[in-house]
């Protein structure tokens, strides 16, 4: 079934890029389950400020993380373009609140550069690497590190 073409492009992968303020970030498209508009979340008590609360995703309770707050960036007002990117991390579904989806990128691994030392610790732990494309800089998010308390609980 597999065509030769598939083999030659097998080291390529696709990312979904999105904006937070002026910066561009991306996640691997394979972990994205869906992208949906913002709907008001029910706040959760006793949770960090970057947890916006939970919403109803077709009968499942989906926690929403404000990615700007998580990365320590200024939190923007919600706009009509604000979207929730539903990603699967391990067995969990989590909604990432971002300002807007900007692009779908097809990249090869050699385009990904390691994160330089200059970034602050928090950003560096959440960013897998930097991608340079058409003069833009896009940071790929390390999804599994976004929810440290889950790891702590699991351990």
């Amino acid at each position: 079934m597999s065509e030769p073409l598939t083999h030659t492009t097998s080291d390529r992968r696709e990312l979904i890029a999105f904006c937070i303020g002026e910066q561009e970030y991306a996640v691997d498209i394979m972990s994205v389950r869906e992208i949906r508009g913002w709907s008001p979340a029910t706040p959760l008590p006793q949770t960090p400020d970057y947890m916006r609360g939970v919403i109803n995703l077709r009968g499942a309770v989906l926690p929403i993380m404000d990615l700007a707050a998580r990365l320590g960036l200024p939190v923007n007002e919600l706009s009509a373009r604000s979207v929730i990117i539903v990603v699967k991390v391990g067995e969990r579904l989590i909604g990432l609140l971002v300002d807007a989806v900007s692009d779908i990128l097809s990249i090869t691994e050699d385009l990904v550069q390691p994160t330089p030392d200059v970034a602050c610790d928090r950003v560096r732990s959440f960013v897998k690497g930097l991608i340079s494309m058409d003069g833009r800089m896009i940071s790929e998010i390390a999804l599994e590190r976004l929810l440290p308390e889950l790891e702590t609980l699991a351990a």
Partner: protein
Amino acid sequence: MDEFEEIKATFFQECDELLADLESGLLAMESGGRDPETVNAVFRAVHSVKGGAGAFGLEPLVRYAHVFETLMDEIRAGRIEAETDLVRVLLRAADVLADHVSAARTNGQADDAASAAMVAELEAWTRGEAAATPAEAVAPAADDEDDFGFKPAAVSFDFDTPAPAAAATWRVTFTPSPALYAKANEPGLLLRELARLGTVTAELDDHQIPPLDALDPEGAYLTWHVTLATAADETAIREVFEFVDGDCDLHIEREGAASSSCDVDISALLAAAQAAPGEPALPQAVTAPDDIDISALLAAAKADVAQDPPAASPAPAAPPIARADPAAAKAAPARPAASESQVPQSTIRVDPERIDRLIDLVGELVINQAMLAQRVAAHGFAPSSDISMGLDELEQLTRAIQDGVMAIRAQPVKSVFQRMPRLVREVASQTRKQARLIMEGEGTEVDKTVIERLSDPITHMLRNALDHGLESPEERIAAGKAAEGTVRLAALHRSGRIVIEVQDDGAGINRPRVRQIAIDKGLIAPDATLTDDETDNLIFLPGFSTASQVSDISGRGVGMDVVRRSVQALGGRISIASRPGEGSTFTLSLPLTLAVLDGMVVDVAGQTLVVPLTAIVESLRPKTGEVRALGPQGAVLAVRDTFVRLIDIGCALGFRDTAIRPDEGVVLLIESEDGSRFALVADAIQGQRQVVIKSLEANYRQVDGIAAATILGDGRVALIIDVDALVAVRREPSRSPEPLSFAAE
């Protein structure tokens, strides 16, 4: 999981069902149901476990099941009578079989000593010895360590070939018919099975294969000639082919048998073997006729004539027993016919995840339908308009679907109950008490989520009933009761809940002693006046245990307070009624499902929250004078002369910093699990509603003070408050707002 492992997993699932059938069949036999159908069902269960285990090469299981099966076969053929003592042995044998199955499932090791003891016991019964000396046979199983004296018997599997214990050579000619292949049987597997009996030399005879143009693709053209060197007898060899009986041409011949008489005997042997696959004495027609006659006579003498007349026919001491057996062959067809008439209940296996997903989707459908109805109403359509009527129909359909889907998850409590007879047997023998378990309402259905959590409380209540409830046989006789105590386990539906009752006819609760213990442990004041009921309920208090020494039977270090707490965590209640000298009844009442909860929907600080209805004693609007300040921030509410602590839900959950004035909101009077009362302050009450419980942990994690979430009619998530945790949260004012997350960075 690869394909093989999947099939194996299916086998173990089937084993669970077979073991359940086995147990219920044996229990039916114990209570007098000795009809051939019941005995056959028991035999089939053991046989199927063995057959499946053989296919997966689970040697210890096969070996054990074989011994069990042999004895069952003797009983089935009426050669051994299933007297009560024997059925009890069989019940214990079934327990050991279950151990073997679970050992095989986990690739673990079964308890060899117990198994060997049971094998010895079963073999003794098979030889008809145990009937004469039951005490001797029962002893080894009672004490696992001292049974090694029986071991020699345990290894001898050749008990049904008394004379030639040494290996013999057999010629097996096996010609499958097309029907065999059509039924998806595989000659290779049969040959492999055969090879397990001894050394096999197989030769394929492909002379019958026609030229390609004449070949019927669904035809059968192959014959195998197998030379088998084995200590097993013909019965064992035939058993290999039992499932393809009638779908193949099969000749089994013993090498070195007197060839002149062979032709005659073989057909008779065949007939006999087909009639009764477990018939032990076949080859000995030639070798040792005398031995056989005695056993045949014994069997005939023992056989219940009314139940199995053919067994009586060998009684005339006809030397070639093979000749007597065709009579059995004629009478026998009734038996397979009877077993075929039992049509298995048709069921399908479904991954529970698929059902859960369906339930989620139906829940979503209900919400969507409610939203639609709200919007239609908002647009001012008349209730008699087409669109409103259509919506009403949709609503009815939706409810019907929801009920239907919930019914899929409903399971009879039988799956929990069927583990209990074994428990009672074991606990009874450990405590040296005699107990009979009566189970009622096993067909009562309850949601899967509840089923899973029923097992522990029931186990505990039963252990408790046997350990503390029932008296010793001597005490019972002295009190004028039967030596054997009765424990009744019943399940029933009552007003939308499932009720489990555990009733014993023991001594009842020793109230003076309970009271004394409660005083000694400081649970009540020495001069407290308690009603009988209140005294009985003391046993549910944390830190109470009546056993003067903590026994590992009702204990595992757990008291009734733990049972009560776990029951309450499920939204249930447990109560006790006791009459001195007549026994006690524990009653457990649980919601039918844990997927749905009755809740009070309240507004707090702009949020909609749900408080479980089971926790709410009453809701009230306090008058100004009833709220009293206590300390800088605390406040209490006077409720009929008692003061209860007031907790502002908004503050406890961190939704607001300053509490609202209780007299401006609504107060919910709560009784917590430990019986203490407090009052929750909410802004307003929206109403009472049944809500579908959604887990927060599935995608996030547990949140303090929140039990779960639900989705309301407007499609938004509402949180369900964990009232007991809320009190605990409230008691720790110095909590940090972000407990774990940033510490890691």
